[in-house]
């Protein structure tokens, strides 16, 4: 029994079945997501394949800013996915709302409607970027972005001779 459990833990992270949910996308992200499955990028070497029903899926790939019409359907769709599940927001629209982030017709991003685990910004994201996001989700590569904060010197700091921008090599 324990052996079976260990085997499951070893095997299941390597075969993510993805259900692709278009929540009002312009089709750009969808084209790139299908592009990832072609032999050139070949996401199937990680065990990733598209499935036709959310009940079979481990991962939901959401593209689009989640229009008001599709939001209840998207909620039902996410509830139909067996746990443990992973929700990936693919594209700038799903990650933050895109150019429609404050529109009356959209919810402004997938995380406004459902809990999102991973974000892949890009408009559309390159196939490599989607592969990278999936690899980050699978723990194959580390994520490369972090919150950035810069500050210019105020006059009082300059008067004291502090120039941290220059110290940082800028």
């Amino acid at each position: 029994m324990r052996l079976l459990k260990d085997l499951c833990r070893k095997v299941f992270p390597r075969s993510l079945w993805v259900y692709h949910a278009n929540a009002g996308a312009c089709n750009g992200c969808d084209i790139e997501a299908i592009n990832v499955l072609t032999p050139y990028y070949d996401a199937e070497r990680f065990g990733i394949r598209l499935v036709g029903s959310p009940r079979h899926a481990d991962v939901i790939l959401i593209s689009g800013p989640v229009t008001r019409q599709v939001a209840p359907a998207l909620k039902r769709l996410i509830d139909a996915v067996p746990r443990p599940r992973l929700v990936i927001a693919c594209g700038s629209c799903a990650a933050g709302g895109g150019a429609w982030f404050d529109s009356y017709a959209t919810m402004g991003g997938a995380d406004q409607v459902v809990p999102v685990d991973y974000y892949i910004p890009g408009c559309p994201p390159r196939p490599e970027a989607i592969l990278y996001g999936v690899a980050v989700a699978m723990g194959l590569v580390p994520k490369q972005v972090a919150p950035e904060a810069y500050r210019q010197e105020t006059l009082a700091e300059l008067a004291q001779g502090r120039t941290h921008l220059q110290e940082a090599g800028k």
């Binding site: 933050g96 150019a99 892949i120 972005v145 006059l155 008067a159 800028k170």
Partner: protein, 177 residues
Amino acid sequence: MLLSKLREAIICLRAGRVTLRYPFEPHDPAPGFRGKIAVDPALCFGCGGCAAVCPAGVILLRDRDQLNRVVEFHWARCTYCGRCEQVCPEGAITMSPQYETATNLPADMVLTLDVFMGPCQRCGRCFPATLHERLPVTGFRHDDHHARAGALQPARPGGNGGARTLAPAAPAAGGAA
């Protein structure tokens, strides 16, 4: 039938491996690719032109007070159009080729920049120069003359810029900026 399959096999064998080894090997984008926004914090002087043209409303401006402005880039919704790079008069914003921006935290997709604004006392416009060049300009608006004099000494070791800016009414000989 069999012959066509054989021919297909030969074609496939000749092609070899076409799949990228991508996540384990870098795959650089073509030149001209627009990726994540990169900001040079020393060049920005807070004009807000980028915020005016950004179609996705990525760039927000917030004024702490008269001299301090916060520029926030919420680039989760960036559409990578490159308009901010085009309109930036100082070239402070560039579109870097970085596309590996997947993350699990929305807070990772925020860039903040505290800009120290140096507006002209006469016209109210900002100086399009770096901070060190802005300081000795005649008319630079700040009330603390001692702080200005102290700040000017290390910035202009050769000249007598401090003496000139301490008397703003004098004609700015030599064009400081």
